[in-house]
């Protein structure tokens, strides 16, 4: 080199990398937490949906499946231990998911302190997500609470026998309780939208596919969302319209 320049100063990488909080509390870090927990929830939801379809096999089969969940792994594992491992994992995932969602939503509100006076409809690739993710999430939370009171604890369900899952499902969606079915379907729509965006969004957050694969992930997301919504919806519809009894 012809120029002879000596002393060089630059920021130390260590200094540069010092985040206000650790990397996992950064926007992207939280987003990764949300994505991983979301994916766990998706897996649960898919399994749950598949399980629900046992309704169509009749009372015995359905209740056996429910009992099976409790006795899974016995005698190697104590009674209900598998179920509790699943539940704890699920609760942890849900809490992580909700916590990260709340923190990020608050940060997003701070990031846009003054609203625009004029707004056009969203035009982005996942434009529906703008309106549906957060509102949908509230619907889902309400639904989950109801769902637990109804089918898990049976507080609001006429069938109190914990072992009669089949009966509880039939009771809750019986034709005269049609508003429950409507609410259930509404929550499903919210869930569908949540998944349609959530699944590809999680993949984008975790693995950052290229443009081609991003398109494919979006298609897969939509397909999964449709299958999940259909799979869940078919049960209450079948009960309400008395195709199962």
């Amino acid at each position: 080199m012809s120029t002879d320049l000596q002393t060089r100063t630059a920021a130390q990488p260590g200094e540069r990398a010092r985040a206000p909080q650790g990397p996992w509390r950064s926007n992207i870090g939280l987003k990764i937490i949300m994505a991983v927990s979301g994916i766990l929830l998706v897996l649960f939801i898919i399994a749950h949906m598949a399980g629900n379809l046992h309704v169509f096999e009749g009372r015995e089969e359905m209740n056996a499946y429910a009992a099976g969940l409790r006795s899974f792994g016995e005698p190697l594992l104590p009674h209900e231990s598998f179920l509790w491992i699943m539940r704890i994992g699920l609760i942890a995932a849900a809490l992580a998911h909700i916590w990260s969602a709340v923190v990020l939503t608050r940060r997003a509100m701070v990031a846009r302190p003054v609203r625009y006076a004029s707004r056009k409809p969203a035009r982005g690739e996942s434009r529906h997500a703008v309106a549906t993710m957060r509102w949908g999430a509230i619907v889902i939370v309400l639904f989950v609470v109801w769902h637990l009171l109804d089918l898990t604890w049976r507080t609001v369900n006429p069938v109190k026998d914990i072992h009669d899952a089949y009966g509880a499902v039939l009771a809750t969606f019986s034709p005269e309780r049609w508003p429950v079915t409507v609410f259930y379907l509404l929550a499903l729509v919210a869930l569908g939208f949540h998944l349609r965006h959530g699944i590809w969004s999680a993949v984008q957050t975790i693995s950052g596919p290229n443009t081609k694969w991003r398109g494919r992930t979006q298609a897969i997301s939509l397909a999964v969302a449709v299958v999940v919504v259909a799979g869940f919806a078919i049960v209450p519809l079948a009960v309400t319209f008395e195709l199962v009894s």
Binding site: I28, R112, Y116, A117, V130, I206
Partner: protein
């Protein structure tokens, strides 16, 4: 043509602003949006009023100085076009047009339509470079770069730092801007040694400046005048995950 404009007027950072209406006649179809504002300003000055302040410089769509939320769309209705390159033939006689500044906590309003975008510079300071002090470089042909990588790096590097992505994002996030730089430098072999520290530093500066997080809605990419795609955000996420895992 004749237009009614509603423009955000705010005398300084500390005084609250409001939308003010102006009627303007005889706007030429061939004028650019900023030239239309020039004409309005000439009139305001003649009437002894304070002209509307807005940022601009090159008026060629490359410096990134111009901004403006036009009818709720960053840089207006035409895709891949900065405000300075937007021409009035895209509007109709009698249209009402709302003009607002970029709105983000990280971009405080200085006056009228002028905002402070130095947060972007701070993100670059936190790692958006390759350390190559003058005079230390090997011959330019010492390291070949596959054409696809060079082209992809260029596409990301085409970002003009205008901030439309932040303005359009429902979360006021700067991820597209940051992703564009991370992708540009991360695609070049010269950028590898600092790849991890770069992304951690930039993300920290981004958050500290008060930008929100990304929800992958794609509003940024739709508004970006340089058509930077969401793939750069994917790269940013990926690099960040690896770097954070290594740092942990």
């Amino acid at each position: 043509m004749k237009l009614s404009l509603r423009i955000w007027r705010q005398p300084d950072a500390d005084t609250p602003g409001k939308m003010v209406s102006y009627e303007i006649d005889d706007v030429s179809e061939d004028a650019s949006f900023l030239e239309m504002l020039d004409v309005l300003n000439e009139r305001l000055i003649a009437e002894g009023e304070d002209p509307v302040a807005f940022d601009h410089d090159c008026r060629e769509g490359i410096c990134g100085a111009c901004s403006l939320m036009i009818d709720g769309q960053a840089h207006g209705p035409q895709a891949a076009t900065t405000t300075c390159q937007l021409h009035m033939r895209k509007f109709k006689d009698g249209d009402q047009i709302d003009v607002e500044p970029w709105r983000a906590g990280a971009f405080p309003v200085i006056k009228d339509l002028v905002v402070d975008r130095t947060a972007f510079d701070r993100i670059i300071q936190a790692g958006g470079y390759i350390s190559a002090p003058t005079g230390t470089a090997p011959d330019a042909h010492a390291v070949p770069v596959p054409k696809q990588d060079a082209d992809a790096a260029f596409s990301a590097a085409a970002c003009i730092g205008c901030g439309a992505c932040v303005a359009a994002c429902p979360n006021g996030s700067g991820m597209l801007f940051m992703g564009a730089k991370v992708a540009h430098l991360g695609l070049m072999p010269q950028g590898q040694p600092e790849r991890h520290t770069r992304v951690l530093g930039m993300v920290a500066a981004h958050d500290e400046a008060g930008f929100g997080g990304c929800t992958n809605t794609g509003e940024c990419a739709a508004a970006c005048p340089k058509e930077i795609g969401l793939d750069v955000i994917g790269r940013l996420n990926r690099d960040f995950r690896k770097a954070a895992a290594r740092a942990a």
